[in-house]
Amino acid sequence: MNKIFNNADEAIAGIKDDMTLMLGGFGLCGIPENSIAALVNKGVTGLTCISNNAGVDDFGLGLLLQKRQIKKMISSYVGENDEFERQMLSGELEVDLIPQGSLAARCQAGGAGVPAFFTPAGYGTEVAVGKEVRYFDGKPHILESALTADFAIVKAWKGDRFGNLIFKGTARNFNPVMAMAGKITIAEVEEMVEPGELDPNFIHLPGVFVQRIFQGVNYEKRIEQRTVREKV
């Protein structure tokens, strides 16, 4: 069992125009920096990207937006990106905004073979338009469907050649659930370790969900809002 690829360029082989991708991360935290750079380099276009956010103008998914490689974004929050705003308002970019919890649950459902589920989130809002409504315990819920992707691309802290992953801090966020929902899942890791180095009891994502893994390089890990307090 060896899922290791040499680098991002090799790991993203097979990603073609018009495919649907999931990309882990919350804001710029825990995003697959190497894979995004390789996608920019590869130049694939017409992508549908499922990601909680759309990066900033000059980093994260913003890099793919700059090059007009994204046809459609499926996200929960897309602020802080002028180029995104321009493309959306001009109609160049399709945008499907969905509640963050529903996004997480729909990815999890996609990975877990659950095609649809009921949630209270979004009832009575435009998110619910066209969706089945059903009452449980007197409370209205809407039917949401599972999300899957041709490729899921995630960023982890450490991983082994079986694809087992652990994440660091809140860089975990959407990465595990998206990894579950990819037809092919690519994981980039800060540190590749030998099988057995990760304690089986404390693996965040079992390797069965990962098809390709590579050691990333030169992580910038940009901070969006640097908030600090003074040392007392």
Binding site: T119, G169, N175, V177
Partner: protein, 217 residues
């Protein structure tokens, strides 16, 4: 009249020992600074942490440790980190006792609008729709009127909704109000603000019964 800090301080009085609390971006975030002494309250951030602490000391920021506002944070002893699905499981499953968030409009039946202004930039709802649809205890923290001086406490929301019949309490720069079947019920006035001031700034149905005390901050 209260400023943003005052609103945060007043809402902090609503906290109860042992509660898990989710604070939205903006005024709600300030509440964490005014937890009454002796109360143990755990703050959840929906990007995946329970037990969020203060901002880090300069030089100790960790890009891998942020809150839902993308601010660098710290984790307190006893904190727990988890993925987005687990985070919203605890929200949707009603394991969080209080949610505080901002709003652009609230209706007198408890509807809330806070995510979209048609024709303008739409930033998205983030976790707000999940939060308001799930929590049994939602407090809105906002100014009573918008920049043009128009009331934000309305008969009906004019903006696209975030959730329906979900807001329980509102704390503004002018007042504390509950949402009841009869509309907004005035509970407290901000220092120096009269009932008439509040009536003038409230477009939705307003119930004023008996003497309305001034807030104690």
């Amino acid at each position: 009249m209260l400023d943003k800090t005052g609103i945060a301080k007043r809402i902090a009085q609503e906290l109860q020992d042992g509660w898990y609390v989710n604070l939205g971006i903006g005024i709600p975030t300030l509440i964490a600074n005014y937890v009454p002494d002796g109360l143990n309250v755990v703050f959840q951030s929906e990007n995946g942490i329970l037990g969020m602490g203060a901002f880090p000391i300069e030089g100790e920021e960790d890009a891998d440790l942020i809150n839902a506002g993308k601010q660098t944070i710290t984790a307190l002893p006893g904190a727990a980190i988890f993925d987005s699905a687990v985070s919203f499981a605890m929200i949707r499953g009603k394991h969080i006792q209080l949610t505080v968030l901002g709003a652009m409009e609230v209706s007198d039946s408890g509807d809330i609008a806070n995510w979209k202004i048609p024709g303008k930039m739409v930033k998205g709802m983030g976790g707000a729709m999940d939060l308001v649809a799930s929590s049994d205890n939602i407090i809105v923290a906002m100014m009573h009127t918008n920049r043009k001086g128009h009331s934000k406490l309305l008969k009906q929301c004019s903006l696209p909704l975030t959730g329906v019949k979900c807001v329980k309490k509102i704390v503004t720069n002018l007042a504390v109000l509950d949402v009841t079947d009869q509309g907004f019920r005035l509970l407290e006035r901000a220092p120096g603000v009269s009932v008439e001031d509040i009536q003038a700034a409230t477009e939705g149905r307003l119930v004023v019964e008996g003497d309305i005390p001034e807030m104690k901050i």
